[in-house]
Subunit: 412 residues, 4 copies
């Protein structure tokens, strides 16, 4: 029997095979081990996970509902920033890590844990995201990353070693056969990677996708909604098919997930560049987030000055996506970016009308309120009227812009 | 009767009401007027346009087939660069202007025209695109832009004045009622703007869309194709439903248009920021281009180094889109960008498998050939195996990256 | 005699020949003309300029001391941002224009002027800077720019026409011969351009330079000062040679000018790209600003996170310099940039020791206070000690960074 | 006595204490050790270093003159790119590492060495620069970095342990007392760091500086030179004081070092952000490089289109500096940047006149030849003449640029 003389560890615990084995193994190594279960909206039975942690030997278990801060502090700023990685990935896992890690450090401090631990592998992005957050928030924290410790990863080289150890330690393992891929789920998205997906030319099987129906199975009739934004943040969703209205942040976002899910919106399948320099293939479903991003960008078209938008695209969207992906949310540069985002969203208020249909999010119209409504002037942009400005001005505009171009000598 | 004593003008002529009136008016003003009709793939009867120009009084008419150079010199580099404007618009009109203007200048020089003319309005982007190209290619060319001349625009303030003038001058006007929007069409796309579209909250009518079927009317059965790229340029398309194969540039691109059209792929509806500082609403169909962009970006995920890709996204994609949109294709900076593109595409060779279904372009797999195939290593990226590198290395990687973050003091 | 029936104009008046002629001419054209003299620190006798304006016929004259707002709202943020244009020009004229224009609009509104006017030429940057500021601050203001009105510039084509008109209208002209260049002076800098400087290969004559002594004539003994910054803003200067101390913003900046002036610091001579696309040659003296920029950047080296600094260099320094140069200070993008600057300066507090010697500003040491002092850790950065981190970590760091590079195939 | 059964190592050898001890220690560990001495222009007696390596036990010694490739392949492209790090550091050490590492890998391959080794510490940038280059050029090379091996660094923790070992192994150590700082020297620069410099507030002692005289000791009479560039590369230097002319690359650069040295040009003292996240203080002398950079940037002002220059500053200057500093010269992104540089330099041909005086590099004039000479047009840029363009055009230019600004609502 182990003696708890090495100090206290707070383990980020999911209830799955890996972290259950890690929990037992940490205890075996002589650590008093506390389990921390973060509810960021994944579809799980948290009570049974808690019970499992206690049964494996956790000295305390904390289940924390982080959904509200996840939506308000991570998801909504990401929507305001149009955050994206490599032009395609909406950063679902990256966004959840900061709130999970921050609460873990908070509990570790409160409970007097010298160590924190997690079940991330040694090849992925998540180890980096968790640990850089830990160190940034508490510079003297010590991290136990079993999948990077030879004593652990050499012992558990393969699923059968884990299963054997689980059996030995009476860790309950779900009877369902393990899926041939790994997932990470939260309110914003689910990811699928590894296993059969490692061949980038293999089409994911239809049954893999969990958070959205196949576009081919979605209804034949479109569904129409309107999203209202205030300063770039969604504050209301109205469904014109059934009249449902949502305004509270978590409910609104959850409802967008529901609507997107049934219309097959939000799937992607990519090969991405991990921070550690390895390419990997990932499939993702981001139902509500996909709708919100489309709607938000559209409203910016109407309400945001073009020069500001161009600057923001380069200054915030790109580095924010990179910082999030690379696990540097808690950093001087990301703090600066986060603070700057709101200055860009002052005018982004109004409505966007959308049609959802078999995987498509189609913008059908938009309108602005407040100062942003000044930017679009129907008479001025009209090709048919002479309003707004004197066409003769364009003459000087073009002439002056041509000055430097007239001196250009094309390369031979 | 007019006397041709003011010199020679080469007018970019479309056969429509505006440029027909301009043609007659230029002659009336005392210019010998030659007409130039650029075939960039729009669906038109060029012979009848030519006949019309002659009947209105053009002293010569040139019909130029620019499709091959449009595809090879403009469309394919844009695909290689993932060119886009304000994250949404694929630049269909912008891309065609340089090839049209270059040929116009070439003919003007050959025919000894001191002037070139066009029918663009004084509020749009196209006047800028044409004229900056003219001036860059021939710094002493003189431009007659009737819609910016008070003598012209005050006389023709409204469609009825144009119609009256056309009637007077026996200019044939199609009996079909004018559409309540304007269009610009080429092999890459069609645009719709003005008229009823000027209210950004009005949903475009179903009958407006010309180059694609409505996703709701597209087939219920998906169509599967594979696109092969060599150095970022599409060199083969195979249709797995019917076995059709295309490899020649123009045919390949035209075929992608055909396939995209029937599956409802490539519609967008946006409010954009024109170069002249006005916001305007545009609807666009870019069928084949939408498929190609999706496929190309996906293959880059597999074959392009992540750091190179990030740099290219900032260094080329963004400024290239801006330069194209703002009519500065013939410029020192765009020449530099164009020359640099190919260095980024060395490894972008391989196949992308796509499913087209009711508006969706869904990637189903990809594979690489050549040096780019080295970048993705299944064993290395596998979460299940210990291949590739020692997980212990990630420890040092994270520790070193944490050094600066541990010194961060969050703002109070 | 003129009748004032065209409305009221507020003219930015310098007391020089050009604006005196413009003043008389505006009155002659039938405008009630008010004169506005901005004191942004140029060395002038404002009372005599005021008297001159009244004598020429201004109905009212306003002399406004803008030095404090110029220093605090324009100069100090520019120092915080390390603002620069084309890597060399410190933006002295650009920085003053916003405060001058803002006060002009404020007075124009108060006095009920429908028009504002200025004496800028039609080829320079300043017309753009003034007018874009006017329009941004009061969108319906009307601008009279005589040097762009054919009726004016054709009449006054050459200095002798101006002198003749001045003589006719009893406008006093200084007896000193006109200098063979133009200048613009304020507290931050003086510019020299035009005239003999138009040949970019002509070395400026020694007597041209006004705000600094020739480095060759500066003292043979260096002068040592320490500048203290708080959040990137200079709050104290101590002169170690004579013990003088300055802490109030305007006095501090003026004193830095004094010290820099006598040590020959702050001259540049460049060819720059004007916004309007013309290249022009400018010589500038920015004495105190040159010292401050060097000191500020040095302190950032000690106190600012490297990633934040790199981001700021791209995100703020570059576009801020461009927006200032191009006259777009009052714009959505520049407002966003200005607001973001302070987030980057949180830690930039401490002292910089400088030696001034015959044109050189030599950093001799620096120290930090507050959170920024944490970033530099002598033991950690020491090559001689094993403190700070385990060298073995660097092994993993390098190995992981090499992963993608090992897959690189150099171009043949 | 050691047996050479562990394989062959090629050690980058400097002749100093550290690498001499490493050489002996590698042999002791059972490696056949070959020594490689790179001549990148440092002032050394290479024959005596070679003799020392042999005396310590190297099985072979290679002295390689890399000066020509260093100048042509590294220094000149860096000048063309205006390469700089953190706005101040001219990258002298970073630039030499690629040529040193490339030759080391070339010899290692030829000689059948499985290993390469170096004497860099575990805290600096140079370990990264060497090793990333090694791995990029030969992905299966193995690196022995003794200062990161506990078996080595624990044994040699302090200079006295090294001296003792040297004495034991009859390694000759120069009798001169070790300097209280470290240096790295090559043709481009010398660096000073560590030791007494670790306190960033300590002013470097006068006797530290080696490659330049103190500005206070430089001649009282200025020296005037003209540098001629062709496509951004210096091809001729003329000294107007004594008539000396240099045109061959290495001689020209060496001569610029000579001239700069005697005039006290090229010193800097900074705190920089190392790649590994540690801040460190470095002092540098880059005599000829400082002159060249000033001259090159000045000529670009005259000959390079402003938009191209702005794009290059962001697209090349910044990432090139970063890639060099971080040791990623041999990488996909740096290859792309290097290839792109030349497109930006097409027009950068002409002369720059400079005055060197007590630390100052003062531009006194410049002229262009070739296509770049078209960009500056004296008449056009003249404020005094009405040539070039119609001032009325500026009216439209400003009006159109004001369109979006008139819609701006400042934040309350």
């Amino acid at each position: 029997m182990a003696v708890n003389n090495k100090g206290k560890v707070l383990l980020a615990y999911s209830g799955g095979l890996d972290t259950s084995v890690i929990l037992a193994w940490l205890i075996e190594q002589g650590y008093e081990t506390l389990a921390y279960i973060a509810d960021v909206g994944q579809e799980e039975d948290f009570e049974s996970i808690k019970a499992k942690a206690l049964s494996v030997g956790a000295s305390k278990v904390f289940v924390e509902d982080l959904k509200a801060e996840f939506v308000k502090e991570q998801i909504f700023p990401a929507i305001q920033a149009n955050a994206i990685y490599e032009s395609v990935y909406l950063l679902g896992t990256s966004l959840a890590r900061p709130v999970i890690a921050r609460k873990q450090i908070e509990i570790a401090e409160r409970e007097g844990c010298q160590y924190v631990s997690h079940g991330c592998t040694g090849k992925g992005n998540d180890q980096v995201r968790f640990e850089l957050a830990y160190y940034a928030l508490k510079s003297d924290i010590e991290v136990i990353a079993p999948w990077r410790l030879p004593i652990f990863f050499e012992r558990f080289a393969g699923r059968s070693a884990l299963l054997d150890y689980a059996a030995e330690h009476k860790i309950h393992v779900a009877q369902t056969k393990a899926k041939p891929w790994s997932t990470d789920e939260n309110l914003f998205h689910i990811s699928y990677e590894a296993g059969i997906l490692e061949d980038p030319n293999v089409t994911p099987p239809k049954e893999m996708w969990k958070l959205t129906v196949d576009p081919e199975d979605a209804p034949n009739t479109p569904e129409r909604i309107t999203i209202t934004f205030k300063n770039g943040i969604p504050v209301k969703v109205v469904n014109h098919n059934d009249g449902q209205v949502e305004t509270e942040a978590v409910k609104l976002f959850t409802y967008l997930n529901t609507v997107a899910r049934r219309n097959g919106v939000g799937r992607i399948d990519i090969v991405e560049s991990r921070f550690i320099g390895v390419k990997s293939r990932g499939c993702y479903e981001t139902p509500g987030g996909t709708i919100l991003r489309t709607a938000h960008m559209d409203l910016e078209g109407l309400t945001m000055d073009g020069q500001l938008r161009a600057l923001r695209d380069q200054n915030i969207t790109v580095p924010y996506g990179k910082a999030l992906y690379n696990g540097q949310y808690f950093s001087p540069e990301c703090e600066y970016l986060t603070q700057s985002i709101e200055f860009t969203q002052r005018n982004v208020s109004g409505d966007v009308k959308l049609k959802l249909y078999k995987g498509n999010t189609i913008v059908e119209g938009r309108s602005a309120v407040g100062a942003g409504a000044k930017l679009y002037d129907m008479q001025e942009s009209s090709m048919d009227e002479q309003g707004g400005y004197n066409p003769v001005d364009a003459d000087g505009f073009i002439k002056v812009h041509s000055i430097r171009l007239r001196k250009w000598t094309p390369q031979q």
